[in-house]
Structure formats: C-alpha cells, structure tokens
Subunit: 352 residues, 2 copies
DNA sequence: CTGTTAGCGCATTCAA
DNA sequence: TTGAATGCGCTAACAG
C-alpha cells in the first residue's frame, strides 16, 4: 500500500455522510483502534511506517476525534467553558475578551447557553455547571451568575456576579464607584432632580449602584426623593414601565440614571415616544457601555465597565488556576469610567 | 485520605467537589442506575413511590446528567452548535441572532471556537464539524466558513460563506448590491478618485465586493484606476499597509471603500496618524456594520449586513431542516443597506 | 511494536 | 416493577 498524500487523488472525505469513527479508520488502515489512538495522540510504541500509513488514512478520511467521546474518557479536555444565561450584548463582550485571553494558550473555548429557558430557575449556573464541568470542560467562567455558592472540583471564575461576596474567584466592575461617577456627572451638570431606574433588588450589583446613587446625593448635600426611584429590574420592559412612571410624576426628574444600558436605552425610547428631547428635556445615563449604547439616538452617555477586559482577566485567572496556582484565586475589581456621549447635558434653564 | 462519599445521611449536595454521577444517585437511593435513568427521562415502568424517592435524592444531591455522556449515548441531543473561527464582532452578532431564534424552541446553543488556532488550516470548519456533529450537536451553523463542500449526516447551514456556490443551505448578505450601494454613495457625494482596500482574494465575498466597486464605476462612466486597489485581506494589519500605500500615492484617493469594517477602522487609524481629517480630507466607508463601527471617531459610514438576522434565519432554517423539512434547504440572500454616519462627505473643493 | 481488555456516564434492551 | 447487561467512541492499562 502506498503512503500518505497519494490518496489526494480521490480525496473524498466522509463518503456518503455519517461521521467517521476511529473504528472505520482502523478498519480502513488494517490496524486496531488502539493503534490509531496512539498515532493520533503521538504516543510512543508505533513504528514510523504504520504511523505514517495511519496518518494517511486519517487525513484521507478526514477523521477528527469526537470531542464528546474523548471528553468522556479523559480527565483533561483542554476546553474552557463560558456559561451564559443568554447571548446578549454583555455576555458576548465577555466572550470577546475570553477569546483574547485564550489565544495561544492551547485551549479551546465553548460558550454554552440554555436558550432562554433560564428564568425558570434562578440557579441556572449550577445546572449548567453540573452538565459540563468535569466532562466537557476543564474549567468554567460564569457570566453574571445569580448565585455563587457553588462548589465544584474544577476551577470556576465568576464575572460580574450579581450576588454578594462569594467563595468563588471573581472579576467585577466597581459598581459603587461607577454609580458615583454617573450621578456625579449629572450633578455636575446642574441636575438636582435625578431619577433612577433601579436594577433587580435581589442582586448585589443593583444594590451597589443604588447605593452609589444615594451616596452621590449625600455628598452633594442633596436629599433623595424616594419617588424618583423606580424598579427597572435590569430589563427593557420593566424599565419602560419605570420610565413612564417617572416621567408622569407631577415634578418629573430632569435626568435619569439607569442601572444598566438596557434600561437606559428603554428610557430613551420612552422619552422619544413622549415627545421629550434628549438631552434637551431629559438627560439619560446608563451603566455598562455595551457597544450598542453608541448606536442609540442620541448616543448614550454611560458608565463603562471594561467588559472585554473582565472576560480576558477571568480566563487568565482560570488558566492560572488550572495551572495549579491556588494563589491566583482572588476577587478582582476593575475600575469603571465615565463615557460621555450625547444623552446628557445641563438641565434646560426655563421650565414651567 | 479517603474522600469517599459519606454524604449518605447528611444530604449536602456534592460534598467537597467531584461531580455527582448517576451511580452516586443510585447508590444513595438504593436502586439501580437504570431505574434512576428511567425516572430522569420519565419512562414508564417505575412505581410512583420509587420515582418520587429517587427524584428527591436527585434534587437533594443536585444531580444533573452529564451532557457529554448523554450525547455519546443518544442520537438526539437537542443542542445546536454555532461554529466560529473566533469570537469577534461579526460572529458574536450572529450569535445574538441565533439566540433570538433558539428561544422557546427547546434547543440549547453551544458556540464553539478553537481559540485562534485557526489560521493554521483553512478548513477549520471541517475539523470542528467532525468533532461535534453527530455527538455533541444535532446540527450546526458555520459562521464565515472558507469552504463549504462539507457533507455530513446532520444538517448544516452556512452564514456568510466566503466561498462560492456551495452544496450547503446558506444565509448571506448581498455583497454585490452592498458594494454598489457603498461606492454609489461615494460617487454621489462627488468623489471620482475612490480607493478600495480589498478583501482576501480567495474568498468570493471579497471578489463580489470588488466587482460591485467596478460595476459602480462603470455605471457612472468612470474608469477604474488599478493603482487605487490595495490588498487588505479583511484584517487590520494588512489593511493598514494598504491604507498607507493608497495615501502615499502621488495622486491619492479622496475616498476609500474598505471591504469590511475592520479594514475601514484601520484606514481611519492610518488617516489620523497621517494628520488627515475624516471626512474633510478623506471619506471612508466600510462593510458589515458591526456595532463597533459606531464607536470610531468619526463614526463609520458603512454598508450594513443584517448580521443578527442572518444568525436568526440560519438557526430557523436549521430548525426546520431538523424537523425534516428538506424543502427548507435554500440559499438565502438578505439585502444590504447603507448606514450613513460621519466618515463620508463631499470631497473638499480646494485641492492642490 | 501491536492488539486485547476495560471503563468513562448514561439510556436502552431484555430477563428476572 | 426492577436490575443486569450492552454499547456509544475513545484512551490507557496490560498482554502478546
């Protein structure tokens, strides 16, 4: 039998569909599966001749080892999992950062989402983790988990966990400082009646942002009007309701601080529907700086979390954890910054 | 020391790490694995009493079936794979669209990337496919594959394939029309010396965009100056070189049409480095409209492909294919549109 | 140097 | 109603 590339003439991979298995390669090459396995993994104990021959059959048949079968058998898979509730602007930014960090590490990246079946249970991250950890992936990054008391054998890092202090290594933005930044910006512009569309009350990130809002007021010697706080719950529909409520107040706010960009974008929509000019009649500021926030009309002023970097650092941390560096386990807090675009301005001097 | 499972009476979920397997559930419940399996999958032939008891143990232990083991055993996994070369702005937009389409379908979504080890081989999609198709996923969406002559048992849909007519169902933007749109915009502004930073010559999408560029010139009765075409290869570094080349020409272009946003953004950078005002001294237009294109300074005018919708339609198509609807296999071409932002303007009237 | 054996975690026969 | 046996595709012992 001839050796390698000669088969290029026929070169038809996977004739007739159905994936090629190691069995078929072995049969085709006239050797045993274990020999194929050894060749594939570069194990010693195979003669150069057979090795080359098998290699030829492998490429000719276009064989690739099944990730699943290999994962089931091996303890190490060289795959990192990123577990998200959904693929939306925030989580995909994290993904980009994760990809930056994984490059050249020899690891592969799998992002896993349950396709919106999430809201059923709060503890989605726990279920996902059980499904993939220890089999499909060597370690995992949890994006905005709602619970972090999980405890598994493999290393796990949480990005922007919405819950309080956890046992997990964590990468998060500085929510408190960020909120201060945002509200101070509004205050500095001359606003004194600043509404807030709050996040989900059970999540610490939301609590921190509200606290920043309050602290900023206190620092400015202002008393917070509790009527100016409306529940947005981090999601668009609820934020719309909140915005309508705020703007219907007898003495409506001249500016709104939204707990995240998604909410801020909703506020922008509502303002437009009500014929309000932004920032002429109403200033709006968000939180996150997802790319989409620059696409709105007007482009959104917002508090930036370095999302990509959070993804990057989370994976880097995970990688060193995987490398046995227990000292790497830590709680990283990344600074937030103000991104001034065009949805904020000084309050109009002439108001009724 | 033995960290055996003394969890018996304690009822602590996953004590001390190590994922919970069906074996452990069975042992804890005092039944066989097959019984646990039946309970888990709602098979008939289990007494209500045992069923309930086992169920209790399952929740108490926080057991979740391993995705991998289940995939290996079952033909159907109810998981859709999205295979990407890397997580970058384009592919993540597709992902968002895919998530939109998957919601409520009962399927889950797995996005898989080899972590930048791609450029080694052109046929990354073939390798990925072999690794996951038929085991981990029921069907796959290939994002910007470079080869589409793959032929596997499971259904596969390609999004924005860079190669020519393929045997695969496909969702793509209208590259030819889009390029016409972009160049016509420049022409309409009064530009007559329009440079082009081209894409990878081996990819049909790039060829089409160049053809649109030429056709637009022809339609306007203009002859294309071949010196005004420079290779950008769809990536930043090469595009920078191309931009420098173009702008160093004795009679430089007053506008540049870049084959994709990534290249256009690179042109913007180079222009800034050379002290050129955009759009005062130079107009720049891109292709894709990834969210990032709005973040540049100035915000980029570009030809939009409905990327999210492409992802959505690809998954929808895949789902109906999975449903046995062979007629769904088709080549979808989605219209492109012009997004006018601030990187294009009429050429300055006074030039040397 | 090569093939045989066993088993990863699970679902499905088939017997008991 | 239940459990023991079988095998998905692969790798790691061990035996030949």
């Amino acid at each position: 039998m001839d050796l390698d590339q000669q088969a290029g003439a026929t070169g038809l991979p996977a004739p007739g569909g159905g994936r090629v298995t190691m069995q078929q390669v072995a049969a085709e090459a006239g050797v045993s599966v274990s020999t194929v396995s050894k060749v594939l993994n570069g194990r010693y104990g195979v003669s150069p001749a057979t090795s080359e021959h098998v290699m030829g059959v492998i490429t000719r048949l276009g064989y690739e080892a099944s990730l699943v079968a290999r994962s089931l058998r091996n303890r190490r898979t060289n795959v990192i999992g990123v577990l998200v509730a959904d693929f939306e602007p925030f989580s995909t930014e994290v993904l980009k950062g994760a990809a930056d960090a994984i490059r050249g590490s020899g690891f592969e990246l799998v992002a896993y989402s349950a396709g919106g079946r999430v809201d059923e249970h709060v503890g989605w991250e726990r279920r996902y983790l059980s499904r993939v950890m220890g089999t499909l992936v060597d370690g995992a990054v949890l994006v905005t988990p709602t619970v972090t008391d999980v405890q598994y054998d493999g290393p796990v890092v949480a990005v922007d966990p919405h819950t309080g202090r956890s046992s997990l290594p964590t990468v998060a933005g500085d929510n408190l400082q960020g909120a201060r930044l945002g509200v101070d910006h509004l205050l500095g512009l001359g606003h004194t009646r600043i509404g807030m569309v709050t996040g989900r009350p059970d999540l610490v990130s939301a609590q921190l942002r509200e606290r920043g809002y309050r602290e900023a007021h206190a620092a400015a010697g202002l008393v917070v009007d509790e009527d100016l706080l409306a529940l947005g719950a981090f999601e668009a529909e609820q934020a719309r309701v909140a915005a309508h409520h705020l703007l219907s107040l007898p003495d409506p706010p001249t500016a709104v601080f939204a707990a995240n960009d998604r909410s801020a974008l909703a506020v922008l929509e509502v303002a437009a529907e009500r014929g309000l000019e932004v920032p002429g009649d109403l200033s709006v500021i968000g939180f996150d700086n997802v790319p989409e926030s620059a696409l709105s009309d007007p482009p959104l002023t917002t508090v930036e979390q370095p999302i990509r970097r959070m993804g990057h650092d989370a994976v880097a941390l995970l990688l060193s954890l995987l490398d046995g560096d227990e000292a790497a386990a830590t709680q990283l807090t990344l600074p937030t910054t103000l991104v001034t675009r065009r949805s904020t301005a000084a309050p109009s001097t002439s108001r009724d």
